[in-house]
Amino acid sequence: MRDTHRPLYNERARKSKHWNEYMETMPRAELDALHLRRIKRNVEYAYENIPFYRDLFDSANVKPSDIQSLEDFNTKVPILDKPDFMELQEESENSPFAGRDPAGSEHHLYRFQTSGTTGTPLQEAMSFPLTMKMGECWTYGFWNCGMRPDDRFYFAFPFGTFAGFWSAYWGVRRLGGVVRSGAGLSTEERINDIVDFDPDVVVMTPTYATHMLERAEEMGVDLSDTSVRFTAHAGEKGPHVESIRNRISEGWGADVFDLYGQSESPFLGPTMDTDSGGVHPCEPYFYSTVIDPDTEEVLEENGQRGEHVITTHIPGAPGLTLRYRTHDIVEVYEDPSEVFDTDITWKFFKGGVLDRTDNMLSVRGTNVYPRALEEIVTGVPDTSNHYEIHVSRERGNDQVEIRIEADPSVDQSAYGDLAGQIQQEVRDAVGVTVAVNVLEPSELPRYELKARRFYDHRETG
């Protein structure tokens, strides 16, 4: 009888360095031509079919025919923010896509929503093609990080109304890997399951990765002795904070990777590439620019820092999205091959998301980003990476209090000295004085999904 076994990939494809070398190494001029073609098509579609965008363009006195270059697009089309989409959603009686879905609701396959931590949740709907493409963004990252179809993936999170990790599942499905879901299990059960199942990759938030390490230690399990070779993360910026990345990497005995995404936008899905200390936006799916947040001027020189603005080429969670400000601060490299050891031509954000424009603090006249504080406090010996930053306003100044758990090996009598050391390191690094409260291990809450680190009490007083 003829052997009918067919491998998933032929030998050349299996040995490919890239998931899609053709696209990942496309010269910048060709990439930009592709962006312009896709943008022009979407601008025309949006103007003709979506009243929201027609009104936007009319108010700016711009017609689709005015967009003949990326510069035209970047200078003539107004920038949108989340409140614009929220307003549109309310006008549409909370309908997902809110009139911006070109395919029509009969194609919707999944319904999700954002967490709503900053207001009303944004409703999201996804069709089958979208799930495939969202998965594809993860797969670019999986492949570049060295994960392959014969790898086994363990999902250490609940599948809920949050779309983020569903897309990771779609990514493994695209890759052809094996999925094991620990969704309904407790942390202890997941640890035992990981020991039994022998996964190569564990997908989870960075915070939960460290929580599992603590529980495993209590159970007498050394997770660095398991089969896990990679941990893949999303939802928080932890892997780009050196001290957190090192804790996860050493504790799990694994390489640590990050995917930069944002649920308010359709999906960013950049490749995970923490080896070179950053991420590549996934250029087949969206056009990415970095602007000066004050002047809105596009920054194009390697190493400039600014706010990331995205335009999606396909309708994502909230539909077609043109020039949406993410509020993420990034350090952009338009041509990473000039600076880094890479042949990927896609733009590069060194250090991932450095901070958020809406998180900036003003402490006695000094601008401070929480990310800077996080890096300092978690890097102090004898601390943990369980911390909270609380901000309040008194007499026109932002007041900052850092609450951080001590490492379990530290005696309580040393907490005062530790707090003083943290305070001194913050003062030396950013020039401001903050209050520091060192807590016992496990005093702060633990999270399976996004950890809440930043508490802004300024608006509520």
């Binding site: 899609n20 053709y22 696209m23 496309m26 060709e30 592709l34 073609r37 896709r38 098509r41 979407n42 579609y45 070109p102 395919a103 029509g104 194609h107 069709s127 089958f128 093609p129 979208l130 495939m132 493409k133 594809e136 087949p284 080429h313 396909i314 309708p315 077609l320």
Partner: protein, 65 residues
């Protein structure tokens, strides 16, 4: 196989799938043809050879525009 050949063959497949989807009255078959077309659209998209934001907005290869 080079990228141009991939594009040509994929376009041929999409024409056949459109015929299946539109002419076959069995929902199971029609939906499978639709989903196969989604993957074909994905092939073209990943090569920069298709700009329609979703397969539903691609020009109909089976006749009517």
């Amino acid at each position: 196989m080079d990228e141009q050949e991939v594009v040509e063959k994929t376009n041929e497949v999409r024409e056949l799938l459109a015929e299946l989807r539109d002419e076959c009255d069995i929902p199971s078959i029609a939906h499978s043809a639709h989903q196969a077309d989604v993957y074909c659209h994905g092939i073209l998209w990943e090569l920069g050879a298709e700009d329609a934001t979703t397969p539903e907005l691609s020009p109909d290869p089976h006749g009517e525009e």
